[in-house]
Amino acid sequence: MKKKIVKWIIPLLFFLCIMPFTFLESNRVFAFSNQVIQQGSVGDDVIELQSRLQYLGFYNKKIDGVFGWSTYWALRNFQYEFGLPIDGLAGTETKAKLVKASKYNKQFVKEQINKGNKFTHYGGVDQKKQSAPQPNAPAKTPAKAPAAKAPGPKPAAPAPKAAPSKPTAANTPGGFSSNDIQLMANAVYGESRGEPYTGQVAVAAVILNRVNSASFPNTVSGVIFEPGAFTAVADGQIWLTPNETAKKAVLDAINGIDPTGNALYYFNPATATSKWIWSRPQIKRIGKHIFCE
């Protein structure tokens, strides 16, 4: 309980200290666009939101431009402290309060992200001390952000190189890493790049159905690399670089779209060599492939 009070009091005191500056400089504040920012969002507004929350000491994770759970709780704490309705949404009122209470040095943040530096954005701390160049070896992380007066500024994880002013992280669906998705995209691309989009989603769905089926291995990689399971794996086409469409198709399939009606097998009737595959009960045809039980 005591800890909790301290956690609130410090940012509050802190906020009171920097109040005068805030008012002085309020005319050169960079404000949000007028969208309501909700959990799951990605982009510049989220970077600003995280920076501002960090400025006030509510948010002490990496500023990565993805509105995840840490940002959500930070925002709710902010709303609680400032007597706003606690809904975890950055709406007009919340944003106005936030803009009034904090500063956002857009140039600094953007520059740091572009350079791939690790940095923090706490108020009242010299900005020069808040950034460290990307270390060459990721193992070297002791370059601590100066704690100074700011409450618990943890050194942010090394920021990866990213495209200019893009978020440095991405949402991935629960239970799958972006590498799983990449692997599936490879398989989908190798197996069905000539197919319509729905046909590609269908191939991804078959992979997922197999993962869930008792008769097949229980992991994405196990299913894909099961010997003889996919021709693209056997002839090496899986190592072609997949395009964005294949990745979208995989995401759609993971998000529950199964165009195949729970199929476990598919084949191309023009090239199929196994007689056995024809004996499977067929569900439907999408593009060149027939999907079966």
């Binding site: 990565d64 291995p217 998000n255």
Partner: protein
Amino acid sequence: MIRGIIIGVLAVGVAGTAYWGYQEHREKNAILINAENNYQRAFHDLTYGMDLLHDKIGSTLAMNSRHSLSPSLVEVWRLTSEAHSDVGQLPLTLLPFNKTEEFLSKIGKFSYQTAVRDLDKEPLSEEEYETLKVLYKQSGDIQSELRKVQHMVLENNLRWMDVELALASGKEQTDNTIIDGFKTVEKTVSGYDESDFGPTFANMQKKDDNFKNIKGKTINKKEAVTIAKKYMGFDGTAEVKVTENGKGSDYGFYSISVRNKDTGQEGNIDITKKAGYPVWFINHREVNKQKISLNDANLKAAAFLKENGYKNLELFESTQYDNTGVFNFVTTENNIRIYPEAIKVEVALDNGNIIGFSAEEYLKSLNDTREIEKPVLTSEQARAKVNPNFKVMEERQAVIVNDLNKEVLCYEFLGTIGDDTYRIFINAIDGVEEEVEKMKNAEEVYDEVI
């Protein structure tokens, strides 16, 4: 003179080619042997695993004290999962070898479910002992069949690469010993009656009963087309192609593909024959630039569901992937979330159109007559069951499907331990911790992909 030189050059060339060819041949052999060894290892591991499994089930049966059963069942579970993964490594996919894998999977499920149970409170029933006995016998049968194959493989120096080539070329070689041997194994397993596994296994494989909870009359093709156009926002002039499901499907559906003649935009949808519910649809196109916020898209998705007559849905998760937003809605009844009834809607963030929709889970679990029990525990009592380091931020009641595939009423606690967020479900009747889910954090972008 010139002739001499040419002959010399050619001779060197021939010698060089021969040498190169020999090198290639050796490399190819090395790789073949490597692949062969992998298969051999998987196969011998499998037979060894089946040996162990059989013995272990046997000793489990012999155990007198019910206390020592749990560790023993856990061991069975571990062995089955290893055997299962060995089967997965053999090049048998094009062979009907599912039954054996399914069999392994069933033993695994059975041993897991009984091992995690508190056997003091709820000891193995008579039927479960019977099941165990049957499993013992069956694993013995498989073991002996596999041993036969193994013996032949070793005796005749059979190679798995030959099996793979035989399968790949599609030539039904009747004299391939390995294939024949495995076919026998498969036959042995499929001879086992499903009912051997007792009542516990009735719901093991999620059987789809043609969306049994959906009520309504069967629609015809024309009605299906109308529904398709309405859902996907196509006007009357669009080209339409309708096909019915094949015989292999669990449920009856129409597959409809709609194409706008002017823009070339194409969408696909499956609609159930019963009552005409869309199971999923895709209205794929490139989404180039984000123009609306995730929140606006959220409102559009909610409005879309409402327009189409879905009631009592509440947003539970929203995520942005590049320029599309994915929204997960679940049913809420009297402030109780019914998690199995989930619908996902995908919205393009340029103009807010719905470009993807999936309701399969929803249709499978949809149940208007679901009776939700009254909680026995109070929320404080349930809260006492969670890890003391867990800081509860939100709480509510929810229905989830648990490990045993049953719908249970739970208290749901959303909160944090350190920097991580968790969702914990405590059974509201008996206080069992049904599920602990760590919420996913955003993943770092390691490299610019494409």
